[in-house]
Symmetry: C2
Subunit: 263 residues, 2 copies
DNA sequence: TAGGCTCTTTGGTCATACCTTTTGTGAGTA
DNA sequence: TACTCACAAAAGGTATGACCAAAGAGCCTA
């Protein structure tokens, strides 16, 4: 426990209004907003931090647990509790969206529509901003898709990565995070039906058209080809579901192991 | 503790792989996905549920805490733990996005760009699908805006609600949730500067144009007027920040009390 | 010097007790 | 009869203390 810790972690005021653990959450969140806790930082041990904040260990643990569920903190037994770094986990976890989908009966149509809106915008931006390196990465993933036309599971991987790289090329990390969140739910549903997939060739061709539009710096074409691609993908997935059974309401334990562990 | 509870809540297997509390989270999540837990349902008391699941109360509480942070469960002291209903809290909490913004230095520009992408899509869909009642609600909020041109705080409220109603008219709850998440962060930043706002008249006029485009069933016009509106709003907010100081990195405790309490 | 063993640190789990809020019930009263 | 108030039961929140298990650092040996 260093002196700087004694400076940074102020005791929770006794005249607190709400629940103690919420007060601790608020305090930690404030430290992040003020930049006193930065990605990769390690928090003091729970026993010490609890004393610093003037609360019991269970209360502190409750607060840490909340922030961990939001993907802000990550605890590793024996090692410590850390502020997550951007590369270590998806910025926004898809599990809450997946749960809301089950809970409130979001339809697969709504999901695809949302994805389409996000990815069309992303494709347009990527066409304006993609760097040479990003174009090269896109081309590589495309090659991977063509190379795995006969292995649906493998193809799906390259497919996912292609879309993630388009998102990266858009230069907007928020849109990227939102897309990943929505797409993760759909990919989870897809994983169960992909073995019945066919016409991967056509899908690969459409990805190439998207790539070309981005490479040619044509935002409008990028948006339109992305739209066509996703409409077709929706049709294909719905057909696969029709033939097999998996739908949004029977999602697997998708995001169960996402965003918990460090690098 | 009813018999049906003994049926539904199966004991966590001893041959579990990961952490016990994560296993409990997985189990509860599974029950939601399978529809065994529905919005508004009340969970058994912690002491009973812990026994049913074969774990200790702290472990169960950790799991509940995680799901509460995701906005899926909500506990009320003295009352019980409930599965949240859609109306009771935003579907997706903005606090995690807000934290990520601070943590990874998301720029206000990225934020506005994401909002623009979402709301343009939403406006287009609303123009296709808005019902008569929804149009009436939009008109009402517009009236409220014109009526509060001299009260910035009040105007901001109507502004927010106008956009939420456009979202509702889009018929896509996922896009609505995403928009609310992003917009909440921006509105939080705005709340601090809105007293310096001027030209609210021009803003109100733009909302009227958006309303007209939606009423006239013109998706393209709705998208474009929404785009112009948000670009102007961005310019205005950046000017306000310039003059005053508040930015994305000094967000207030915005979402602290969002999504915790029941109705 | 390299590899492995051990001890310490640190989060994870458990058991128990007690506090605070909520809620329902029932006695008492108008 | 109906309304009010108070009390008790229920249920989540907090605190303590102990022990388990994983990770890592350091030492010791080959």
């Amino acid at each position: 426990m260093t002196d700087s810790n004694r400076m940074k972690f102020k005791t929770v005021e006794p005249e607190r209004r709400g629940l103690t653990s919420e007060e601790v959450v608020t305090q930690l969140r404030g430290m992040i907003h003020r930049g006193e806790l930065r990605p990769g930082d390690r928090l003091p041990p729970e026993r010490d931090l609890a004393k610093l904040l003037g609360v019991s260990r269970p209360t502190l643990r409750a607060a840490i647990r909340s922030l961990a569920a939001m993907g802000v903190l990550a605890s590793r037994q024996g090692a410590g509790t850390f502020v997550v770094k951007a590369e270590e986990s998806p910025v926004l976890d898809s599990s809450s969206l997946s749960l809301m989908a089950s809970l409130h009966g979001f339809t697969s149509g709504e999901m695809f529509e949302a994805r389409r809106a996000l990815e069309m915008a992303i494709a347009g931006l990527a066409a304006e901003r993609a760097t040479g390196e990003q174009l090269a990465s896109l081309a590589e993933e495309m090659a991977g898709m063509y190379a795995s036309l006969e292995e649906p599971e493998n193809y799906l991987l390259h497919d996912m990565r292609f879309h993630q790289m388009v998102a990266a090329a858009s230069g907007n990390r928020i849109l990227t995070a939102l897309m990943n969140m929505v797409a993760a739910v759909l990919f989870d549903a897809r994983r169960k039906t992909v073995r019945r997939a066919h016409d991967l060739k056509e899908s690969a061709e459409m990805h190439r058209e998207i790539y070309r539009a981005i490479r040619d710096r044509n935002p409008e074409a990028a948006r339109e080809t992305m739209k066509d691609h996703l409409l077709l993908a929706q049709k294909a997935q719905e057909a696969e579901v029709e033939a097999g059974g998996a739908s949004l309401n029977s999602l697997p334990d998708s995001s169960k192991d996402a965003g918990e562990e460090a690098a």
